[in-house]
């Protein structure tokens, strides 16, 4: 018999449910209860592209130490879906726990002997207490929440308080839910023993907030001054436009007239979405669209127009599993290359790479300053993991003294004073020209915007030298961008090392833990988290100062590594791929196992799909 796992405030619970069964709210309460006990939690929803009837999972990392990535492995499986029983059972760590509905007897062969099996006749309890099918369906979830509350040591008062808050607007439901909770708690107290996995009150959450990246990015767009949003529904980006809409309704109405200081259009497709963004950007409004990989594919032509005609635009790309329709409800970082070089001809685009909801807010606002300053498309590259899962992060901050940077706009006064206006004239060497907005001046400053080549004064030209002059200026502008985008963040290893690791985006929290795990084994690496493209020079200095640099990302083709090689002329042999692309968020164990293995230890990851 394997010894049952014993852990306090440090374990992984996974709920296996059927989607559309109402489990999400019970699972959400479970997470919030742990947070209210002062214990940090990271929760990830693994769901199908479906509304009802297919398997869905909710994986919860409880970490008193504050590790917010996926660890890998499952210590307690709450197996509520018979369809996925076998694979759910197989995922439990040796010594782990299985909780299931024991109403129907199961043969011993359906279990494992190296785990602790905990059954409760949830359906029987529920059916005895409730007659209406709707109550039976929903309250069964609250009953299992009650059982878990007892066997894990969650404070019942905390859960009760949450239920009162949750149903504050429907008081009739509070009593029924608390009753169901107590049915579960009472049953557990009488028949079950607490598990070796325990929750204890702590003070490790502080003033942190629990929020998903799409909400954060939508709020960032409000703070960044976006006034036009044109979008088309696509998973996993839809909730970003919805969050922007909700926050605008609360924060952006004229207090006197009640009228909207924003315009949101649900367009007929992604092409029209980006077209509206380009039109609004041309006319001086801050505008954005949000989409995922398939939408970016459709937007290519307009992205090229924005690059070449130099029109500000912001695109939030909440990446999902590709190619084609791919895995619409799974996560990947697989649009990096197609965003960086989107559209035909020679193009390059600014990309911001947030690590989680905090930077989704920060970069979500900053993207509009950069788009106006650089007069081009700026991508903010989220992914499904950070976009649709709530993460525990420090509270959002805003500096009220920070003005919106609207970039180089030539005014009527400047034109009156005799400024030499050339729409594509580089007056100060940074590659960024001045622009006029329509209707600036009755007789000066009008120009014809076009996607065809033209000279510095926006006059059509097919002359080779004129074309090259313009393309070279666009490169200078891209160089300027290097000094404006968020700088990479370096973390020195405790001991001098010739190994480095580069990572970005939602890999960050798993990387934090992996680096600690590796360090504990005596494996030291300097780490660099990239936060934007184009890459500033320090990225290549970092690579040059290490013999071997691991590049950790969540796609098959090592896209960021390819971008580093292409943009920096780096010797590919120095950049070692570490890739997780099965659609589930990368785990600390996977990273530590892969890098540890490559650095010479034999210990490889034992769990996590990519390690199998």
């Amino acid at each position: 018999m394997v010894k049952p796992i014993a852990a306090i405030n440090d374990f992984v619970v996974k709920f296996a449910n059927v989607n559309g069964s109402g489990s999400a709210s019970a699972n959400g309460l479970f997470v919030k209860a742990i947070l209210r006990m002062g214990v940090p939690v990271a929760a990830r929803n693994i769901f199908p592209s479906n509304i009802q009837g297919l398997p869905t999972w909710y994986e919860i990392r409880v970490s008193g130490q504050g590790w917010m990535g996926r660890r890998g492995g499952v210590d307690l499986m709450v197996a509520m879906n018979p369809q996925t029983w076998d694979r759910d059972l197989a995922e439990i760590e040796p010594g782990g726990y299985l909780f299931y509905d024991s109403t129907k007897p199961m043969p011993a062969t359906r279990f494992r002997d190296d785990i602790t099996v905990v059954g409760a006749p949830l359906t029987a309890i529920c059916n005895a207490a409730y007659v209406e099918p709707s109550k039976r369906k929903v309250l069964k979830n609250i009953i299992y929440l009650g059982v878990l509350t007892y066997i894990l040591g969650i404070e019942p008062e905390v859960v009760e308080a949450l239920l009162r808050e949750e149903y504050a607007s429907k008081p009739a439901l509070v009593g029924a839910n608390i009753e169901a909770l107590n049915l579960g708690i009472d049953h557990a107290r009488k028949t079950l023993k607490p598990l070796g996995l325990r929750l204890e009150r702590a003070d490790a959450v502080g003033d942190r907030i629990f929020v998903d990246g799409n909400t954060a990015a939508g709020l960032g767009a409000v703070y960044g001054g976006a006034t036009v949003c044109a979008w088309y529904p696509i998973t996993p980006s839809t909730s970003l436009a919805e969050a922007f809409t909700d926050y605008c309704k609360k924060l952006r109405h004229d207090p006197e007239t009640g009228k909207a200081r924003y315009a949101i259009v649900q367009a007929e497709d992604e092409i029209a979405s980006i077209g509206m963004v380009v039109g609004a950007g041309w006319n001086g409004s801050r505008a954005f669209t949000c989409t995922s990989g398939p939408g970016v594919s459709l937007m290519q032509e307009f992205i090229g127009l924005s690059y070449f005609a130099e029109i500000p635009a912001v695109i939030f790309d909440v990446q999902r599993g590709g190619p084609s329709t791919g895995m619409p409800t799974r996560t990947q970082q697989s649009d990096i290359l197609s965003a960086a070089y989107a559209s035909h001809g020679d193009t390059k685009h600014v990309m911001l790479l947030p690590e989680g909801p905090g930077e989704c807010f920060e970069f979500g606002a900053q993207a509009f300053d950069l788009a106006d300053r650089l007069q081009t498309t700026v991508f903010v590259m989220l992914d499904l993991d950070m976009g649709m899962n709530e993460w525990l992060i420090p509270p959002f901050q805003w500096d009220d003294s920070r003005p919106l940077d609207r970039g180089k706009i030539m005014t009527a006064e400047m034109l009156e004073a005799g400024a030499d206006f050339g729409r594509y004239l580089d007056v100060d060497g940074d590659g960024v020209p001045y622009r006029t907005l329509p209707a600036t001046h009755p007789s000066k400053g009008a120009y014809f915007t076009r996607g065809t080549s033209r000279d510095r004064y926006a006059r059509y030209s097919e002359e080779g030298a004129v074309y090259v002059d313009n393309m070279e200026r666009l490169l200078r502008k891209f160089d300027t961008a290097k000094s404006l985008v968020p700088a990479p963040i370096a973390r020195k290893a405790r001991k001098a090392t010739s190994y480095g690791v580069i990572y970005y985006g939602s890999t960050a929290p798993a990387m934090d833990e992996a680096l600690a795990v590796l360090e504990a084994k005596g494996l030291h690496l300097d780490a660099l988290r990239l936060r934007a493209f184009p890459f500033p020079g320090e990225v290549f200095d970092f690579i040059a100062s290490h013999e071997l640099v691991f590049v950790v990302e969540q796609n098959r083709d090592a896209q960021l590594r390819a971008l580093l090689i292409n943009e920096g002329g780096v010797d590919p042999a120095r950049l070692v791929k570490v890739l997780n692309y099965d659609g589930s968020p990368i785990t600390a164990r996977f990273i530590a196992g892969e890098i540890g293995g490559l650095m010479g230890t034999t210990e490889k990851a034992t769990t996590g799909e990519m390690a199998k």
Partner: protein, 351 residues
């Protein structure tokens, strides 16, 4: 597109409008289209219309897609900002521009390939959203810049210059616009400036999606026998339902008409449309009847022109979205950025 600027000087006795502008102030660069192209007549009609309604040239934004017709915004209103966008997608760009600044006048210029083939979807959605604009399709039934392929408005059975017969049904943009909810729909002919100029004036004054289908024969690739978009064919089959005069800011004069001969429509901006009836009992304010009449006459082989439908009380996209009166692109930082105190409250709700 041309890079030749027209000389700016003009005869001192040239008439000026109420703003002191001459007609020349509404012109653009020299056209590079083929001599005799219908599109150049439409550009001239746009110049005249804008001159006559005393429009401040810089208060208009002109947008187009790709193709011969979409090149024309370079040839009129040189003091206006222009945007030659991408093929078939001008409607979305114009929509976005309009959202950013509701105070400007928006003129969309497109062709039949641009709006009926590649851009049919965007055309449809801009109409149904009620984007406040005048949208002119310079319709010649053919791809001129790529030398003579049929476009989607070419009639079934019509012949190309090379002698090919078109097997596909032609799209009737007027019927589509009516069905999609456009609130001003007209059709005209590039060779009939007397009809076209007042239509453009009324469309520019209209609040909402105003659409004018202008048959504009392609002198190079679609002006032969067997074409239903040639000068001769259009002249022979043109049936005007009414004659339009538009009064902007002036009292209408109706004395010279017999009762029942005239329809008077006042648009939201106070402009008065005086429609002298040509076809008996044609009511341009009844969408359903207009659609039926057009289907009927089309089946009889006529090309019905004139102001076919107008809803003088139409609402536009900004009214649907309930946006502020001020242009969104002119809002101050304080009006669009909620600040740290609001953020503290948001943080509190996320705990």
């Amino acid at each position: 597109m041309t890079y030749i600027a027209k000389p700016a000087f003009h005869h001192p006795s040239l008439n000026t409008n109420a703003l002191g502008f001459t007609r020349r102030d509404y012109e653009g660069r020299v056209s590079t289209l083929c001599a005799g192209c219908g599109h150049d007549s439409i550009s001239a009609a746009i110049v005249q219309a804008c001159f006559e309604i005393d429009l401040e040239p810089h208060r208009l934004a002109k947008l187009s897609g790709i193709g011969c017709s979409s090149k024309t915004p370079d040839y009129f209103l040189g003091a206006s900002h222009g945007f030659n966008t991408v093929h078939g997608r001008m409607p979305s760009v114009l929509t976005g521009a309009n959202l950013a600044n509701r105070e400007l006048i928006y003129l969309g210029v497109s062709g039949d390939g641009d709006s009926a083939s590649i851009g049919l979807g965007q055309f449809a959605h801009a109409m149904r959203r009620g984007v406040n604009m005048a949208y002119i399709v310079e319709n010649n039934g053919v791809y001129g810049l790529t030398k003579g392929q049929f476009s989607a408005t070419a009639d079934k059975g019509s012949k190309s210059k090379k002698g090919l017969v078109n097997h596909d049904s032609g799209i009737d943009m007027v019927a589509l616009a009516l069905q999609l909810g456009a609130t001003f729909v007209g059709r005209s002919f590039s060779g009939d400036k007397e009809q076209l100029v007042p239509l453009i004036k009324a469309a520019l004054a209209h609040r909402g999606a105003a659409f004018i289908d202008v048959l504009s024969p392609c002198i190079a690739f679609n002006n032969h026998a067997g074409s239903t978009k040639s000068f001769d064919w259009v002249r022979e089959h043109n049936e005007a339902v009414n004659h339009l005069d538009i009064m902007v800011g002036r009292a209408p004069v109706t004395a010279s008409y017999d009762p029942g001969e005239l329809v008077e429509v006042t648009q939201h901006d106070g402009s008065v449309l005086l429609l002298r009836k040509v076809a008996a009992d044609y009511d341009p304010t009844n969408r359903v009847k207009a659609m039926a009449f057009l289907q009927d006459r089309q089946a009889a082989g006529e090309i019905v022109t004139g102001l076919l439908y107008v809803d003088p009380e139409a609402e536009d996209l900004h009214m649907s979205l309930e946006t502020v009166e001020a242009p969104l692109n002119a809002l101050s930082d304080a009006e669009i950025c909620p600040g740290s105190r609001a953020l503290d409250k948001i943080n509190a709700r996320l705990r």
